[in-house]
Assembly symmetry: C2
Homo-oligomer: 167 residues x 2
């Protein structure tokens, strides 16, 4: 029960993080001896890696060049998913771009902050904090969300927007 003890020890301090790091060479995953317990490498196919795309994507957004992001990084078959309160998915770049244009036409962005990227094995995340007014309603609001992008063969094949809901 050493493991459980360790878990409780960690929990006593501030609560154990719910996950793991695998960066230490001393803890490199075993190749075969662990059988089905052993982790497997995660790949995203050919082309730019999630890290490469994430850095360029974030830099372009910060520079106001979302049009370049659309041309350069969005896959033809991209799926775009809006989070809680919407819970809808748009399929294909044509539909996704139409969604963007519709949103832009009805919103005035006063200020936007982009934090990140945070980079995973299959994609990356950005945090958007936006001061925006919905033109049709006149309502000004502070939006805060985490966008998660999935990468395959050097393109973004999926995005999902997660909205702050409070704790």
């Amino acid at each position: 029960m050493a493991a459980r003890t360790a878990a409780k020890r960690a929990s006593k301090k501030k609560g154990a993080r719910h996950g793991s790091k695998q960066k230490s060479p001393a803890r490199a995953p075993k190749k075969k001896s662990a059988g089905s317990m052993a982790p497997k490498p995660v790949k995203t196919g050919k082309g730019a890696t999630p890290l490469e795309i994430a850095k360029d994507f974030a830099a372009l957004i910060r520079a106001g060049k979302s049009d370049v992001v659309e041309t350069k990084w969005l896959a033809p078959g991209i799926e775009s998913v809006e989070g809680i309160g919407a819970s809808m998915a748009w399929a294909g770049k044509k539909a996704v771009l139409a969604k963007y244009r519709g949103w832009e036409a009805d919103h005035e962005i006063h200020a936007m902050r982009v934090d990140g990227p945070w980079v995973g094995a299959t994609g990356f995340a950005l945090r958007f904090s936006i001061d925006v007014t919905t033109k049709s309603s006149g309502q000004r609001m502070q939006m805060e969300e985490i966008a998660v992008y999935a990468v395959r063969n050097g393109k973004v094949v999926r995005e999902e927007f997660h909205f702050a809901v409070g704790g």
Copy 2:
């Protein structure tokens, strides 16, 4: 080209957000007239919703009750993916729990902050900021990551950890 003009107008201010909101009743998606351009509802099956799980999950982690999270919310077939620098996937709850225990045994958590949740249509995200020492190396570090959890039939079926890499 009205759409493009709108996009550029937004870009001029601070760069257009790369996505959309669908909360306004005035902009509810059309049912059928838009054909393949129309979005489709996203569902996560039976059981607790991503919002319900997200709130309870975050509260339990903050209370140091990660053991309850494991029992209550992790699906038997959960896949756990570590991000850049690791890029490995653990399959199945047994392997995932073994990974957790291994990490906990080699790490001392000095402090942990959990931000979120942010809730999407298929899952949710949490942000972890951890002050931790790796016991085997003696190295103390500040970890910062976004964990993204996918929900299906009231359980977490996948998690991926995204690590801060700088802009």
